[in-house]
Symmetry: C2
Subunit: 353 residues, 2 copies
């Protein structure tokens, strides 16, 4: 864990340049990181030992199962240092791992942060990164309990989240049955449109606070409350989060459940884009909803008999029935002209050329 | 988790070169990784759901606490692709994370593997890496339950291990008291000497099977049984693993316990090196024992009244009393001439220039 590094302070030159790009000493780095995830111990009674020993110690909640997941978040692959605010990198690396816990119907309990930084490093970037991480840790009641630091040419982040779900209450990808209805939370394609706005050919992106699409790309909100409600009330038969695009993720859910699905284009909740164009090019909102990644909404199936229990909105989040599960193991889309077309999976794939 | 990638097979050219450096398709990669950590589910009744969903599901053992840790293992920082056998990289990335669990007195239960590979990649390397990983997973009863894969220029590995320890049975770094005796398992400095043999200026390293020093560097054995015994029998007052060198790690234990220590040079179990020289240069075995990293032995303190309960060897592993805990918060070494010297921490530090 963090303490597994010698503490060695390197004095930095006291000039303006040094303030921007200084060598962060290991003790400064570790103490800054520790403070990023800190909660009062009164708030987390199940945390027996946090960062600083060989490993963290946690007391499991009786009657719950442990949910465990991890996610890479790498400079150049998942974010760009000159395009993505450091605060967003901190928020998102944790939020997306928490989304995997939410997708099982679980609640996050704590996380480990593995961080590799370049030798000479912008202290300001680290401060903002940790501020974003701290905000997410507090928002989702998920304190930092340990991790590892080292150096590397580019910024490498790996986040492991431990969560809990009531025993036998977890909702898997494999539970969908023919006849179940397919639901999705929120609006799809927003993060994809936000990403496009982050890279305008001319001018600067709008501040995230004023642009819901940009905010969705930079500061996604894992649907922890919704996932917990669907699991605890035994409403959903299968569930996963939409991180790589509906067309890719629905295929995974269907493969795990050995079923297919028929979606209705008109029912898919697309983003609302007041401009409806990026770089003067009209964008296809349906295509963004089908194939855009990074939305971190929940995709879930519900037995038809249970469908009336699904509200139109849950704590302000729109829930849309977008189609149904079929015995035929295909993914098809009924378009607005009444034609039925096979859906190709064109979501995010790091290995796609 | 692993399933969070589109499955896309890329045909590789059927020639000799392609066999050596092929583009591994994502489905091949994931299925190969999954098989690396697989155990019969009968062997791991507490594992409810392994790789393939949004997260893994585990049933905690009643009366136990959860132990959680993670470790980077990066090409160029922690291993060299042309020097370290892929099989060793696989073994060691898991073994060193398990060592952190052992150092708390815990038993490993399962692990997550985060792996990033270059675009064009040697399939043979991956096979050997996974073979080493599989051997360690089986040896330490620690199956793979999930992870994440992506691509990057160099090989990036992060391993998170979840273990368990009897409630209130964990041994922390902070429990040492003045008057306690300091013990260490095995021999120190072996891995450091093995590393030096791996990089000879002339000729090739000996096969690890015939060279105990090389074997220690390439295939360290975390002291799970010993750590568990010391914790469960309430013998040790404080414990940690020696991963960055005795001089560095003992300082950490003393800092956590707010004590100091006096070691006796003659009692420190050094490596036995039949050559006693590397590249024609005579090596200082005591210096290697004090400052050499990567041994993954256990460093622990025992109240004087309990010392008779510590056997000379535990399941073939030598246990040596090397000094005692002092109230004075310094680290000193009594040398063979009866002189007492301050010990400088010169162990492994990734941020040291």
């Amino acid at each position: 864990l963090f303490s597994a590094f010698a503490i060695q302070t390197q004095s930095s030159q006291d000039d303006a340049k040094a303030k921007k790009a200084m060598e962060i000493s290991e003790d400064t780095l570790i103490s800054r990181i520790k403070s990023a995830g800190s909660h009062g111990s009164a708030l987390v009674p199940w945390l027996r030992l946090g960062p600083g020993d060989d490993a963290a110690l946690l007391t499991p909640t009786p009657g719950f199962q442990t949910v465990l997941t991890c996610d890479w978040f790498l400079e150049g692959t998942h974010f760009l240092r000159d395009k993505h605010p450091a605060d967003s990198v901190g928020w998102k690396c944790l939020a997306r791992a928490i989304s995997d816990i939410a997708a099982m119907g679980g609640r996050p309990r704590c996380f480990l942060l593995s961080l590799a930084l370049p030798d000479r490093f912008a202290a300001l970037w680290l401060d903002k990164f940790l501020a974003g991480l701290r905000r997410a840790a507090r928002k989702f009641s998920c304190p930092l309990v340990g991790g590892d630091t080292t150096r590397q040419r580019s910024i490498l982040i790996n986040v492991a989240v431990l969560g809990e779900v009531r025993s036998d209450g977890a909702v898997l990808r494999s539970g969908a049955q023919a006849g179940d209805l397919v639901f999705v939370s929120g609006k799809l394609g927003q993060a994809e449109l936000g990403l496009a706005r982050l890279h305008p050919k001319k001018g600067r992106a709008m501040p995230a606070s004023r642009d819901p699409l940009l905010r969705k790309h930079l500061y996604p909100e894992p649907r922890v409350e919704l996932g917990g409600w669907l699991a605890e009330n035994q409403v959903a038969s299968a569930m996963m989060d939409v991180s790589d695009g509906l067309s890719t993720d629905l295929r995974r859910l269907c493969q795990a459940s050995r079923v297919g699905a028929r979606l209705v284009a008109a029912k898919i909740p697309t983003a609302i884009d007041p401009q409806n164009r990026i770089n003067s090019k009209k964008i296809d909102l349906l295509s963004a909803a089908l194939h855009g990644g990074d939305d971190y909404e929940l995709l879930f199936t519900v037995p038809a008999a249970q469908a009336s229990r699904v509200p139109d909105t849950f704590k302000g989040i729109k829930l849309s029935q977008i189609g149904e599960v079929t015995e035929a193991r295909r993914l098809v889309l009924l378009d607005t002209h009444g034609h039925q077309n096979e859906i190709a999976s064109r979501g995010w794939d790091p290995f796609r050329p």
